[in-house]
Every structure is written in structure tokens, then in C-alpha cells.
Amino acid sequence: MTMRRASSGGRIDRTRTVRFTFDGKAYTGHAGDTLASALMAAGVSVFARSFKYHRPRGVFACGPDEPNALVTLISEGVREPNVQATLVEIFDGLDAESQNRFPSLGFDIGAVNGLAGPLISAGFYYKTFMGPVVGSIRGTRAWMLAEKAIRRAAGLGRAGHAPDPARYERVNAFCDTLVVGSGPAGLVAAESAAAAGGRVILADLDATMGGSAKWSSAMIDGRPAAEWAAGRVAALEAMPNVRLLPRTTVWGYYDGNTLAATERVSDHKSSRAKGEPRQRSWTIRAGAAVLATGAQERPIVFPGNDRPGVMLAGAALRHAGEFAVLPAGPVVIFTNNDSAYTAAAGLAEAGAEIAAIVDVRPETSDAARALADKAGGELLTGHAIVHTHGGKALSSVSVRRFTLESGTFSGETRRIEAGCLAVSGGWSPMIHLASQAGGKPAWSETLQAFLPPEPTQDWTAVGAADGTFRLADIVTGAEAPELDPAPAPCLEIASPGKAFVDFQHDVTADDVRLAHREGFASVEHLKRYTTLGMATDQGRTSNIPGMAILAAATGRTIAETGTTRFRPPFSPVSIAAIAADRHGDLRPERRTPLHDWHVERGAIMQPAGLWFRPRIYGDPGETVEQAYVREAKAVRERVGIVDVSTLGKIAVQGPDAAAFLDRVYTNMFSTLKVGRARYGLMLREDGFAYDDGTTWRLSETDFLMTTTTANAGRVMQNLEYWLDTAWPDLRVALTSVTDQWAGAAVAGPKSREVLAACVTGTGLDDDALPFMGIVHGEIAGVPVMICRLSFSGELAYEVYCGAGHGRHVWEALMEAGEPHHIVPYGLEALGTLRIEKGHVTATEIDGRTTARDLHLDWMLSGKKPFIGSALMDREALLAPDRLGLVGLVSLDGRALTAGAHIVERGDREARDSIGHVTAVCFSPALGKYVGLALIRGGKARIGSRAHLSDPLRDRFGPVEIVSHHFFDPDGSRMHG
């Protein structure tokens, strides 16, 4: 097709010239042009090569319906493939590229696929690559061999690898009425909702509001429709309760009358203002939605219907009316309904030459005939297009006499010269959002279209979206011809030659029939087998013709055939717009009050859930192992300090707090004295171990519970769940106070001396502060709470203070520890010390282990029931061959690996695992590589040998199974 720019008309700004490139070539257009309109105005007719057959394709539609003219946009080094050229606003510096062609659009090697057409028919992939064994090559194997070549030949644009520097953001909006679509129906609805005083949002995917009024030749209130619309838009814009969202596609309708939209904030700009996002994702909670989404035109399927120059009639009219782009040669109109007559008249008025109107119907209405007279050219009722001719652009069409009822032809085939064939198969209301909202669309035999379902949410459809096509029925004061909205039920002209249904996936009418012959009679099966409607345009132009052809093949009506379900998104949405601020440096992170100190001290910080914790504080030249061994040794020999602020801390307060704890912990807390702490274990309701930690009694009615770092949130939720649903009568308040406290554990034989040097206001000897005792004092003028408890197995204290004082107190402790060469230690050393002591953490309390498996049965009180007590003694949970906690010692002097399996045979190929390794380290106390493991039979295997097997990391070696208490099993060190 060759198009040209009309010398006048259109809504473009001819005073502003815009420069852009397409396939490396420089072009100009005007402000208000789309990439499609500007390129067509510049004489470009081939925009893409088709998916399978590499046929040349031109612009077929306008707006979001476009199946052919997909391009890749390149901006800041980032490639965005598969963008519809009909939706791209041009700007200075726009850089676009065509797709699926090699080496160029004009000459494409892949076009030889066209000759192999019958081989690449419906179900090609299934038949070729999932077929029977051929010789030694099975189908799937053949796929692996061929995939690369096929992926290259078949397909769309290529995504890039460069990170996208643009920003994207999300925003939440609330309104009483959301109007989707700003055509006449949407404007009327928005105006009436706004006049009622509610908050109104009016969204339209176009850059300017007005919808079809922008290119309609109708008059409203005595003015051209476009002028009327501009006036209404300006009035709405001036109202404080109305928000206009141009360039915004509402693409999803979810439960709770929540709609999702993407606003293209700066895609049309050469540069962005500071902080301006590229796109913005809107989540709109609407009291009511008005769906004024209009209708989309369907094509008629006939041989040669994909040749560049064949175009939807409404699209041709819009290109002429909105962008002043006209077919350069004579235009033939082909239609089954009246609306194309409006297009014919409009095109003629804009300056195009109408050669003929070919109508499949034997008769046409007077109003249509009047428009045909206005348009000029021949009126051929009872005729059909049977083929098209031309190379890369249409040059003529073949027409024959056609009988609508039988679909048969008669008489001679006649050629009519044409540069453009404008086709209309009638209009389908855009029911995507209504259908997403719930309910099944209803087929209208009269309109030959699906209408919106009965609403199950709070929405109404208006205008063409509801099947109301006459402007006079939408806007009072509209003057437009009284046309018949009902098309003839004819969507295919069955004649020899390749007739395309789905342009984007190259699915032909014969493919649909073939699929049916092969047994795919359901529309859902047809869709998946042929890929009809599964391309990026989601079958916008192909669904109805496809269904009509399937219905005819199966001898059913379209109503019986049914439509596939509409799902979000309405049109492609970039993942970046949805992810928006949920990645990169905007991910939530938690920092302890000592974070900056750790970083300044050179700690390697390691993520632990959302937290960051020091892994090691490396000295220059140290390996990780050297660092943690040095740190752990310092704790055993002198004194170390570790940040324990991340431990979950929950304030359990109230007159019934002690009773509550008795129910959730396996052991007793009501007997705990004020000023003392106790180690506690929780089970799940099914009897498995859940979490552990110490709980401190600060007063009769105040407890401070600590949980593992990883489980803090879940434990809090569980406690709340039990309190609310199981024991609502208990007067207990639960509050997360994790962040209230900075915590430092000072551990090692010299720890008491360190504290003695800086703590005032309390004694620290065994009488004042016995094991598991709590005292209050001050460090450097800051109130602190000190509990003598130990995770490392050494004499140790946990020092807590208000988080804002954390660094102050920590530095005072460091200073007090200076004479003892105090060493800060990280997670690796913390892990080493606990492995040496055989203490469990989340890697052992993994949801599959019981208290008994972990040798914590001494904590299961027999004096009271508790959560989990009813189910913890089930037979399978007591079985002697359960995985139980043991220690492992490496016998080959090499490190063990966490996650490795343990096998009995000394055979690298052995796969009969008897358990797995949960944690490993080099133990400075033992001078060996050790680990903890969960082994079948547990303690019964102590003293035996086995092998560690880790094929993934190529580690195999002998181990000895030992008690998990590697070091100081009687705890004499911590009791000091």
C-alpha cells in the first residue's frame, strides 16, 4: 500500500516537525503522529515480516488492534520489542527497528517458508517434535536440534540484555467512578458522574481524549464531533473532582472493583524530567466503573487478505481523519455492513479516490446508499473479494458475484485496480474488562458480536462497548446517518488461496479447519493447537472470524461455539511497570542499630531474611575461614562481642501473660521468677518443633520473649492467632519490640571483667547475676538490661539497651574490652560456637523434626498440656529410625559441606542416603572439621562411621558420627 499525507486536515500539528529513525533511516513527521502514520505518510508500506511465512505485512488497523506493524523501540540502549507502531507517538530522537526479517524488510530470506506452507500448518510443533521415534531421533530430541533455528526464523522482536535505566512507579487511586474510554459515551458518562459531585477518573489509552470523535465526521450540538469533544474534555479538566489520565491503558479488572492501568508517562518524550517515571502502574479502587471502551472492527477473511494495502475500513478512516494519511491510489471498500459506507464517505471527503464499494449483501439501506453516492465509485452489492494482487503492495483486487445465503460465486471474476482495500466485517464491543470482571459474554445474533455479560461487579457498559453503535443513541444533539448496525453473518469468503485469520501468528482459515478435522472442536483447544489468538494482540482482530470458521466447520452457531475467556492484561504490559519499586535498591531492608559500626569496621555483611548481619570482620589478607576461626577462638580464650539485635523480641504483657506462655511453650513459665529468664521451646499444633528462644520475666505481668531471627514474624503471628482464636478470654497484649532494643552478646571467660569495667548500678557476681538472671544497670550513662545467658557455651551476657543508644553502649563495651583484646564476631563464628555446643537453629528446626529428634524432650513438660502436646507422641513421630541430631567429624581432614548427604558405603556412587548435613565449620576448640547432621536412627549410630556424599560439589569422604555435644558437654564453662 502506498499512502500519502493529505495537504490539509487531521489533528496533527503541521507547524511542528519531528525527526526520528526507522531501521536506521531518518524520517520526519508531525507532532501528533504515531510511528505508523508518520511512516505511512513517508511512503513506507511494509512494516514487518510475518511470524511463520515471513510474508510482507503493512499496517492493518489503528490503535491497539494492530496485528502486523510491530516494531522494536530502542531507548537508552534498551530494546523494547513487539510494540505496535500504531500506538507509538513520535518524538525527536525516536529510534525504531522492524522485526523478524533478515537481512532487511525488503528482502527477507525467511520468506522461503511460504513455499513450505503446508508443512508449517496447525499443530506443526506438536506433530514434528512430539511425534513418534524416527530412527534414533525422538521428536523431543529433534526439537532440541532444531530449536535454535526455528526460534530465529519464527518469532517476533528480540529483547535486549541491557539493564533498563528508566524508573517505573506504582500509585494507588480511589474514586467514585472510573470511566474507561473517552469517546462520546465516556465523555457523557464522566460529565454526569462529575456533576453528581463524586471523584471521577477518566482514562484513555490515547494521547488525546475524545475517542472516535477525533476522526468522526458526525456533528454534535451543531459542531464537528472533534470540537464538541475537545470542549467537553476542557470542561472536565477544569473540575477539581475529575482526574484525566491520557496515555493510560486500563488492562485488568479484578475482584473488589479494583482495576489496573498503566500510564505511559514519558514514553513520548525525548527526555524525562528529574524523577519522572517512564510508566506508572495505577491500582484504581472504583466505587463504580463505566466501561466506555468502544468497539473494534473485525476483518472478513479471504485469500490474499494480508497483502500490504488491505486494511480495516475504520482504521483507514481514522488514519485519514486523525492523522491526514490517505491511500495514494484508488480505494476499494469491502464490507458486510453499513459502517464501511461512513468510512468510504469520510475517505472521499478527505481526498481519497473511492473506486468501488463491494458489499456481500444483496441490498443496502438508503442511508448507506446515500453515503455511497457521496463517496463516489461503483457500488457492487451482492459481490465479494475473492483474491488480491500485487507484490509487496496491493495493486488490484478480484471481485465476483456472491450469494450470501449459500456463500457461492457466479459470473466472471473481475479485477479492480486498488492501492488500498478497506475491509469491514462488522464491529465487536470491547468487552475485555467486563468479561474479566466475571460472567460469560452473551452472543448477539443481530449484531454478530459478543455483548458484555451480566455484571457481577459494580460496572456498566455504555456506547459501542455495550453494543450501542448509533451516535444519536449515545449523545443527544448528535447528527449522523441512521445506519443499520447489524452486519450480514459473513466473515469468510471461502475461495482458493491462503486466507489469514490470525495475522500475528500466521494462522489461516485452512489451519482452523484442519484443527477441527484433527479433533480440536472446542474453541479452547483450537486456540492452543493453532495458537490462534495467542499472540501479543491476543487475537484482537482474529477471534471472531476464527470462531465463525470453527462454528461453520462444526455445524454449530457461534453462540454454541462460545468464546475463550478474557483475562488480564487487555494489552501487553511491561513487567518493569508492574514490578515498579519492588526491586533493586528499593527492596525493603532491615538494619540493626549497629549496622554502620559493622560496616565501618570492615565487616562483610550478609543478608539474613531482610536483615543484614556481619558474616566476618576480616583482617587484611584473611580468608573467611581464618577470620571466623580467629573470632571464635577469641571467644573461647578471651572475650568476643556479637550483635544480637536481630533476634525476634515480643513483649507479652498482661495479667494472663504467664498462663498464655504455659500454653504456647512446651515447658513451664508461670513458675519463672521475676528477674529470671528461661529457655523455651514451641511446637506446632501438629506436634513438630517450631521455634526456640529465651523468655525473660521483667515483672509479674511483663515478659520479654525472644525468638529466632528467621521466625520472628511468624511466631508473632502465631501467638496472635492463638490469642484471638483459641483463648480470647486471656488478657494478654502482644507487641513486636524487636526494634526497640539493641542487643550485644558479650561472651568468653573475660566477659564478666569487661562488663565490670563499664556497668554501673548493679552487681555482676553470681549472687547478683546468676546464670539466667537479669539485672538493670547503666553503661556510659545509658540504662541497660543484662541477662546472663549463653549461646556460645562460654560465660556470657546479653546486654540490651534502647536501640537509639545501641552504638553508644556497644562502643563503651568495646572500650571496656580493649584490655582483654575483645573481638567482634560475626555469623560464621556464632555458627561455629553453636555447632561446637550442639545448639539447634532453624536449619535443624526445619519443620520436619520433633523435639525428640533434636534431643529436646527434656523440655516437654508432663505437668500441663501445651500447643502440640496432643499430637507429638504419634507412633511415626516416635519411630526409632527417624532422623535424629548427631555430630559429624571429618576423618579426611577436609571441610564438610552443608546440605550433603550421608551414606553408609564408602562408594562414590552410593545413593542410599541415611541423612543430611545441616551445618558445618572448622572447630578451633577441637582442631577439626565438624558438622551437625540429621541421621536415620540418630544417637544409636554414635561411634559408627559413614561417608559424606556431595556429588554436586564433588566432595566425598569418611566421617565419624559423634554426639552433637562436641565441646564442654556438662556446661561447666558457661556456669563459670
Partner: protein, 91 residues
Amino acid sequence: MLIPCPYCGPRDVGEFTYQGDANRVRPALDAPRAEWETFVYERVNTAGPHREHWQHSGGCRAHLTVVRDTLTHHVLSAEFVRPGPVAKAGS
């Protein structure tokens, strides 16, 4: 999906945590094992209105008994599980 929290008003489902089937009757802690097995493991799989517990974990943190139609996601009612001191939120 929106859940009308009686304290906070309607909020997005993302603020809530599903806390299980509310049709179950919780046994006493010292109830026989069989009752606990029923409670922990047995569920009805309702097609239609279903009573369930949701916690407004991203809001007031109260647990709610929500009746939700599993076929349509329509929330038919939402009430505090624990008898609370407050009336329904104004809006």
C-alpha cells in the same frame, strides 16, 4: 479482593494473611488425640460461602472471621474473632 476489616474499613487482600478454615472447632489443649487430628488435618472443601480466618496482619492485626464465596471471591461478611471493644469502622 477487598476484605472489609471492621476496624480499618475495606483493604486489599495483600494486607491480610489467611489463617485457615474457621469451620473447625478447636479442641481443648488436653482433648484426646483424635479430636486434634480432626482439627489439624480435616478440612471441608466448600464451593460457595466459606467461613475462614484472616488476620489483618498488614493493618490492625486483628483476626477476622470472613465468609467468602469461594466461587466468586465475594466477601459476604467480616467480623472480629475476638470480641472487641469497638464498633464497626465508620466507612
